[in-house]
Symmetry: C2
Amino acid sequence: MTRVDPAWAACPVPREETERVLLGHGSGGQLSAALLREVIVPGLGPAAAGGGVEDAAVLAGGAGDLVLSTDAFVVQPRFFPGGDIGSLAVHGTVNDVAMMGGEPFALSLAFIVEEGLPVAELRAVAASAGRAAAAAGVPVVTGDTKVVGRGAADGLFVTTTGLGRRLPGARLSATRVRPGDQVLLSGPIGRHGVTVLSAREGLEFDAATASDSQPLHRLVRAMLAAGADRVHALRDPTRGGLASALTEIAEASGVGVELVEAAVPVPAPVAAACELLGLDPLQVANEGCLVAFVAPAAAPAVLAAMRARPEGAGAVRIGEATGERPGRVTARTLVGARRTVDMLVGEQLPRIC
Amino acid sequence: MTRVDPAWAACPVPREETERVLLGHGSGGQLSAALLREVIVPGLGPAAAGGGVEDAAVLAGGAGDLVLSTDAFVVQPRFFPGGDIGSLAVHGTVNDVAMMGGEPFALSLAFIVEEGLPVAELRAVAASAGRAAAAAGVPVVTGDTKVVGRGAADGLFVTTTGLGRRLPGARLSATRVRPGDQVLLSGPIGRHGVTVLSAREGLEFDAATASDSQPLHRLVRAMLAAGADRVHALRDPTRGGLASALTEIAEASGVGVELVEAAVPVPAPVAAACELLGLDPLQVANEGCLVAFVAPAAAPAVLAAMRARPEGAGAVRIGEATGERPGRVTARTLVGARRTVDMLVGEQLPRIC
């Protein structure tokens, strides 16, 4: 974004002042990363930089490190098969805490409500968030509600913050991956993104899908019990999909990632919808699966632990980290060719979470 | 809100389903309290109930209790004399943690950005939040950014969450006030509300005002060092002003509050603006002062400690808690009459924070 082309360099108005935020800045892809790196983190200060690489911050403390994560939810529509903005906000934040090895124990929840929203809808969302929190065993302990005038928001936005205590032995970081690490995926991809898109556009596909939105902290607990600090990195591939999650980790650790594309489970309705819409399933958002980088010796035990949990029943090995092409993700296709898997550049599916 | 009048009772459509969120539900007054009590807390679960009475949740832990608070900021305009939405979000959240006796040590910050916002403006807000956090000594450790389409938000919303460790000896709660407690106010009221309103409406008053937005955690630390657990309750009178803060505490503790109206410092420009606009300064928002209920024996020492800090240089005693008229706030006027001080019912100044 601060790259200056010659025409602009000669222009008296700095380019930056004419730049505007684009939908693609919220995609979880390259534009998001640039906005964070060049605009937000320089402002907020160095401690915020961790948030660019990890899903949550780890705060060193006396009796166990704390893990803090925050996420704003703007999904449209607010209700969709498999969930709604309330349950999604709870699951998303529980999962972000879990991806850093945190056992979540408290949530906060802030509503921004547009004047005119039916109270019954706000009630339904609050109840859904409460049920999701109860099912996850993580209470909502505080919150806030603001109301803005008609037209100043689109119905309802929810921002959740999760607080957790780091599990003993957890040493998870996007920077800890080494060549040879096995890449494990907990289940099929693409359901959340395709479901929300279908609900929004009123599309009907041959087979119905539902969002995979679910809490993953118990799965993470089981994985760390099996693999401890040999589980090097975890990520839930939400905005930007598996492609962005793998690329971010490849860049942060300076490794390549080689994906066996045929091993990545894509449910038939997701595959059909993606073909119809011209989407790459690897770039479609998920809200109930995770990808793990695990030292080779520990990978079989961790995979077995994943499969023993309902959230990880469909867990598979999908590739490995390599010393070649650092920062790049490469897919071997069915016909044996290789292709580079790119992060999203712009916006594929706005307001997916 | 669930009060059923006879006409509605006979109506086949339940009234609730026809109800819509009003601007007044965000006022911090009676409608806000009702929405929280009847819609949000029943959904989110019992642990969230604390958030209705206190500014933050206290989480019992091993090495010191944790204090967690969250707030959404939707102030309009985003830049005003004395601050902007970024510094305001940091100060507001630092203060909410402090009001529960927490020493804040980490902040998270989530942006919801409308497509088309100038990047330079986002940069300015992030930098302002970063400067405010650095000045408060509380780092922003994680965050999130979502972008919504044009017309789906009004420029920029910021949700901050603060995490603190409870100061030793702090036992603050809106429920701990007893008859005889002295009511101490740290400084003049009304500046934030009048400033934002003036900036929004392009009003010019005889004398300029600026928001009082500032962090109060160091003031709280000094007060607790002087008064320890004899400081019973603290509140920063933001939305809904001093009237709402005092009423909430009176209701939560089951005491009356008797205010000496002439003792409440109202700066001349605030008084003039309120007179012109028909506002009650007691109902106007503040972002840099606090009100304390302190056991009588400790009140002089706590007041002296307040006055020794710049944030509390103008601290004064403004009244006391009584055993009469529980849940009510009464003001003695200059002419010796008494009037009941009411919480806001609807919306006086929307989007003040």
